[in-house]
Structures are given as structure tokens and as C-alpha cells.
């Protein structure tokens, strides 16, 4: 047992740090938790990484991934978090990509993987439906075979950032007589296909981050089916486990704590910096300690994955604790800014940072970010669902 990095790993860190320093767009530094950026802003870093061959850090080399070890990926996320980088969105690289290269046809791989890697194609996720939430198996959207096409009808919801999407992956019921989790298929859909309508859902923080997606007689070529018909549930579960494994967000939360310390050094309480206030500084300490526990739990999980075990139910722990920490972090940040948590930046004219001149810049989105982050314990399988998973898979109850 040891925590040492090898000389090669240290050299790797130097390399990626230099690359980030030289290539990361300056104007996008420290914007990592903002949700209302333009398509171009979201994709800028992804495209740079795509050219470098670093956009898919967890993919095998043969599909265009980096083939990095888990330690390299750990270093990579740490170095990106230093500038709070806007990482490639998960829908392509972390979600549909691994499904395609694991279960897809050669044609699908050839057609879709390059666009995912380069950042030219934006993907949307079509899992959830109104009234379904964490219970994916109850879905109602149907895909009916009609010659060389599936005809899809139904409604998806929480399709994150689908307003920008070129393609989407949708879970559809292809065998209406099957039991709840069977008879589902995993289908790739060009979002420009007639019959698709994306309607914005406004969230409580004022952002347009998610959408409802209505599908009316949407005709999709059968070759867009991934894997076998009626076996989509297997791919869906595979995807969800992959989604959870990145969700701990340790490096980003570390950066968040640094930022919180900066804020608490600027804010004063009775004339002294808030950071020197025993109550507040100990809350930061507690958060940092909890984050350390999560970090080493993730490192242990990565080590056991590297030893050949795929992402297992342990990833549920990372999801639960990771989101609890992210939420607590935004809660403390809002607390730190005091009275200036109240002004509603998005409610004013213009959306740039502090162009409304109320309070210090770091206070501008403190409340909105706190509100927004409540989603993290709900999405990706709510934290209650994660606890159910651990109950079954680990405790065996």
C-alpha cells in the first residue's frame, strides 16, 4: 500500500497541466457550474480535446479513447478542476459512446464514434418519461416496426440541453406485451427527424437546462437500433452504471472548497474574515474531511476496478456521497455570501457575470447554484434508489 505516483505519472501530470494551461480557453475559466452557456461555450474544450485525442479518457484506445489508467484519469480530472474546466458533456462521451462501442454494429461505431470524440455531434438522453422518474422500466414511449423503420410515439422528459442536440438515444417499448423491464429497445434518433418537438422546462433557478421531448410518428431507420430488439434494458443498466461512476465529482468539489475558502476570506463578520470564524471554518473543515473520505473511497473503487472488476454497486456510494457533498458545498457558499444571496441575477437584464452590479461577483449565482444542485440527489437514479440498490446488491436484504 502506498500513495506514491510513479515518475511516469508525475511526468504525465506535468504534460496535461501544461496542455491545459496552454490550450484551455481563458474566457471559460471558472464557469464549470454554470448551466446557461451557449452551444459553442459548452463544446469549446471538448473540441480542443478531440483534436488532441483526449476527449474520451475512459474509452479503450481502439475506439479513439486515451486508454489511460485509472490513476491517469484521476490526475486528469484533478488538473482540469484546477481551472474549473467545462468538461465534455456526458451524454455522448460517457453515456451513449460506451454503449455504441460495446453493443453497437460496426456501421454504428463508424458513423457515430468520430462525432462523439470530436465534439461535433451533440447527444441528448431520452430515458425519463413524465410520471416515471427513477422508475425507468415503466416507460410508455413505443417504437413500432413499419418496414425498414421504427415509428416512435411518446414523450420524454428531463432531456438535458436537448435544445442543442443533433442526435438522441431513446429507450422505447418495442414489445408491448412484455413485462415491465423487457420488451424495451435502445434506439438512436436524429433529432432533426420530423415529428420531434423539444419544449423547454424552466427550472427553479431560472435556467433552461432541461426539456420535454415530444415524439409524434417519428420514423427512424431500423439500422439505428443498438444491439438486439427488446434487450435495451441491458444496455440501459450498463449505461447507468457508467454514468454513476463519474458522479463523485471529487476534483470539482475540491476546487469548490478552494473557491469557498476564497469567498470566506473576502467576506467579513464583525470586521474579521469569515474564514477565521470558528463556526464557519469548522463547517468547511467538516466538508473537506467528508470529501477526503469520498476521495479515498473512490480511489479504492478505482483500484478494484483496475484489478478487473467493472463498476459495481459501490458506485452507488460515490453517487450518494458525491452529491451530498456537492449540495452541502453550494449550501455553504450561499451561507457565506450573506445578504447578497437574495438578488436574482438571471432575473435582471442581460446574463453576463455581474453586469447588474449588485454585490460581489461571487455572490451572483450562489442561490441559483444551490437551488440547481438539488437535482443531483434526484437524477441518475435518486439517492433513495441508490440506497435500494445497496440494500439489495451489497447488504443482500
Amino acid at each position: 500500500m502506498n500513495l506514491d505516483f510513479t515518475p511516469e505519472e508525475n511526468a504525465f501530470r506535468e504534460e496535461v497541466r501544461a496542455f491545459i494551461r496552454d490550450n484551455y480557453p481563458k474566457e471559460l475559466m471558472n464557469m464549470g457550474t454554470r448551466e446557461d452557456l451557449s452551444r459553442e461555450q459548452f463544446l469549446a474544450w471538448h473540441k480542443i480535446l478531440g483534436k488532441k485525442g483526449w476527449s474520451a479518457v475512459a474509452w479503450p484506445k481502439k475506439y479513439g479513447g486515451t486508454g489511460w489508467t485509472s490513476t491517469q484519469r484521476y490526475i486528469w480530472s484533478e488538473e482540469n478542476a484546477r481551472v474549473d474546466a467545462l468538461m465534455p458533456l456526458p451524454f455522448g462521451v460517457s453515456m451513449v459512446g460506451p454503449v455504441i462501442y460495446t453493443f453497437g454494429s460496426e456501421e454504428q461505431k463508424a458513423k457515430h464514434l468520430p462525432g462523439i470524440l470530436s465534439g461535433d455531434v451533440w447527444w441528448a438522453q431520452g430515458y425519463s418519461e413524465p410520471g416515471a422518474g427513477s422508475d425507468l422500466a415503466s416507460l410508455k414511449t413505443t417504437a413500432v416496426r413499419d418496414g425498414d423503420h421504427y415509428v416512435i410515439n411518446g414523450q420524454k422528459t428531463w432531456t438535458t440541453l436537448a435544445q442543442h442536440a443533433d442526435w438522441g438515444f431513446f429507450l422505447c417499448r418495442t414489445d408491448p406485451s412484455a413485462k415491465s423491464q423487457e420488451g424495451i429497445s435502445f434506439i438512436l434518433v436524429n433529432m432533426k427527424t420530423p415529428g420531434i418537438e423539444v419544449r423547454p422546462i424552466k427550472l427553479i433557478d431560472g435556467t433552461h437546462e432541461v426539456n420535454e421531448t415530444w415524439l409524434t410518428d417519428v420514423r427512424v431507420p431500423v439500422e439505428n437500433l443498438v444491439g438486439k430488439e427488446n434487450e435495451g434494458w441491458t444496455y440501459a443498466k450498463f449505461l447507468l452504471a457508467h454514468e454513476r461512476s463519474g458522479i463523485a465529482g471529487v476534483a470539482r468539489s475540491k476546487r469548490g472548497i478552494e473557491r469557498l475558502r476564497d469567498i470566506a476570506s473576502s467576506e467579513t463578520i464583525d470586521g474579521t474574515p469569515l474564514i477565521l470564524n470558528g463556526d464557519f471554518s469548522r463547517k468547511i473543515s467538516q466538508l473537506e474531511i467528508d470529501l477526503t473520505a469520498l476521495e479515498f473511497t473512490e480511489l479504492r473503487t478505482l483500484a478494484s476496478e483496475a484489478a478487473g472488476k467493472g463498476p459495481g454497486p459501490e458506485s452507488s456510494i460515490l453517487k450518494i456521497k458525491g452529491t451530498e457533498i456537492q449540495q452541502r458545498l453550494t449550501e455553504l457558499t450561499l451561507e457565506a455570501v450573506g445578504n447578497y444571496g437574495a438578488p436574482y441575477a438571471r432575473g435582471m437584464d442581460g446574463h453576463g457575470v455581474n453586469d447588474f452590479g449588485v454585490g460581489p461577483e461571487y455572490s451572483n449565482f450562489a442561490a441559483d447554484t444551490y437551488f440547481n444542485m438539488r437535482k443531483t440527489s434526484i437524477y441518475g437514479g435518486s439517492n433513495e434508489i441508490q440506497r435500494n440498490i445497496i440494500t439489495k446488491m451489497i447488504l443482500g436484504l
Binding site: S128, T268, G338, N339, G341, A342, Y344, R374, K375
Partner: protein, 384 residues
Amino acid sequence: MDFNFTEEQTMIRDSLARLIKDQYDFDTRRKVVASKEGWRPKMWAQFAELGLLAAPFSEEDGGLGGGPIDAMVVMEEFGKGLVVEPFLQSVVVGGGFLKRGTEGQKAEHLAPMIAGERVFAFAYAEPKGRYNLADLETTAKKDGAGWKISGHKAVVVGAPWASHLIVTARTAGGRRDTKGIGVFIVAKDAKGVTTRDYPTVDGRRASEVHFDNVSVGADAAIGDAANGLPLIERVTDEAIAALCAEACGAMKVAQTMTVEYSRQRKQFGTPIGKFQVLQHKMVDMFMEAEQSVSMTYMATLKLDEDDVTRKKAASAAKVRIGQAGRFVGQNAIQIHGGMGMTDELAIGHYFKRLTIIDSEFGNVDHHLKRYTDLSAADMAVAAE
């Protein structure tokens, strides 16, 4: 001991509840909040007509003979309806200062406030003062018989709707000294007053208010301009009690809405209200709301006791309610799931209001420390 409401209080509550139900449904509120004005002066006139603005004042002062309990009743209903109009700012705080003013001040300000013609906002917080009422950079300098006020007040809730401001300012001593603080009435249209108006995340309006050598007369000072902090603390504690009542109203609705939602929303073929984990969370939400009501009664009933008792009661209530509001709000969203995150459902707006309530007039940490410091002082006295 008696925990019953008077007939008048019950009447106020019922008629206000009816008015809100009829004219303040959630969709209407959303429209009002999104409108240019952000509130409805006509609604305010109706509140005045109903006697709400007169309720907590003695008959000599032109009121209906009520007191803090009446304000509590109103604020709880405001909390239930997420009402944005500035009862707290104008009636509880503005009225709270004015009723302790001179007869002249009452005649000039209190009577039109009660009539709904003048609206007050409380300009006390400053960009660097956090929750310390005495941490003031705003100054009021003697200028003949009157005063000249300069400074920057932060997040003055209700200021865009106000005709007048109650302003705290340093008349002597150094920043954070407890002595040397005065309270002044300033017309918002006075020369040298500039405001930057904006919405708040919980659907209200506030302003940054700048005072640049604003001249006011001698009659603008309420109470002792050399030692106004005790009065400020008293009125602020009254505001805290009223704010706690608002939080109770919001929590009750958030809690019952969540129970209702859990009854209807199905997952895995079962209403989620059948899942024991969610049931117990909702029980905890219920208990938090109940205990908040208890604390609000307690703090309200102790407003007229000695200073230390009153302060401890107000701080204890604010601590408990800050914690309860966070628990109820966060769990209401969690149990609502994705729907709870959407702007179109009311629940998220209750969550947002409860969040901001914690930061108004001092958050949990601030009041836990205040309570602790007061307890230590208490013990020191007892030990003597």
C-alpha cells in the same frame, strides 16, 4: 397560559385566507412577480381595507387594538400564500418604529402607513455588515437642527415599492460600536437618494440604496439618535417573530403539498407515499413544522418580556425555524423529484422563500451565537 386566538384574530385569519385563495392563487402570483411592478398596489389597498395594516396597533395609534399575535396571524397566511407585498417591512418594521415615535411622527407617518398610503422599507443592512445591526458605515451627521445622511444600504427588501425608508446610521463612535446609532425616516424621493432596483430569487423586489448627503429634518429621527440600537434590536426581534410566522405558513403548505403529491405520484406501480423511507421523512417534515409553530408562539409571546428574555426567545426561534425551513424545503423538493425542480410547480417557490428567510435578519449561525452569548451573560449575572 392560553394558546387560543381571539375572535378578532380568527376573523382576520379567515378573511385573509379567503382573499388569498380568491385573488392570490399561484398562477396569479407568478404573473405579478414577473410583471414590471412586481407587486399589486391594489392588493395592498385591499389589505388596508380589510384592516390588516391596522391590526397590530393600539386604538390610540389608529389601530384595531391588536399586537404581535395579530401580526403573526397575518404573516402565517402570507407565508401560506407566498404573498410578496411588504407587510413585514411596512407594518411590522415601519410601524414598529413609528409607534414608538413622537405624536408628530405618528400623525405624519403612522396614520398614512396604516391607511396604505405610505409604504415603508427598512434600510439597515450594509454590504460589509453581514448580520451585525451595529456594523454601520452609513453616517448621519448633525446639520443644524437636522441631519445629513450618507452611505450604501444593501438588499433593502421592498424598497422599490416604498415611499419612505427607515434608515439606520451612525451618529457617533466607530464602526460596530453599540452606542452612537440613530434611526431616521427618509422619503425615497428626497434629494440624494438613488436606488438600483432588482428582483430577488424568492420573487420579491429589493434595492441597493445610496444616500449622498441626504438632508432630513430633526423630526426625521426616531427615538434617541445617540443610542438607537436597543430600539432597533427590539423592532428587529418583532420582525423575526413575524418572519418566523411566515416561515411556518410556508412550511405547513410545503409539507401538506408533499404529502398530497406522494399520494398521487406512482413509482414502480405504487404511490410513493407508501414507501416507508419517504413516510418517515414526511413525518419529520411535519414535526419540524409543528415545532416551528411552537417556537413562533413562544417568541411572539415573549416579545414584551425583559430584553434578554426577548432576545433569547427571538434567536431561539430563528435558529429552530432556519433549520426546520431548510429541512422541510430540501425534502419537499427531494420527494417531488424532478417535478420539484421545475418553475411551474409551486413547491420550488416555497423552497426558495424558505431558503431566503434563513438569511433575513441573521441566519442560524448568527442567532445560535447570539443565544449562546446571551446565555453566558445570563450565567455570569446568576453567578454574581
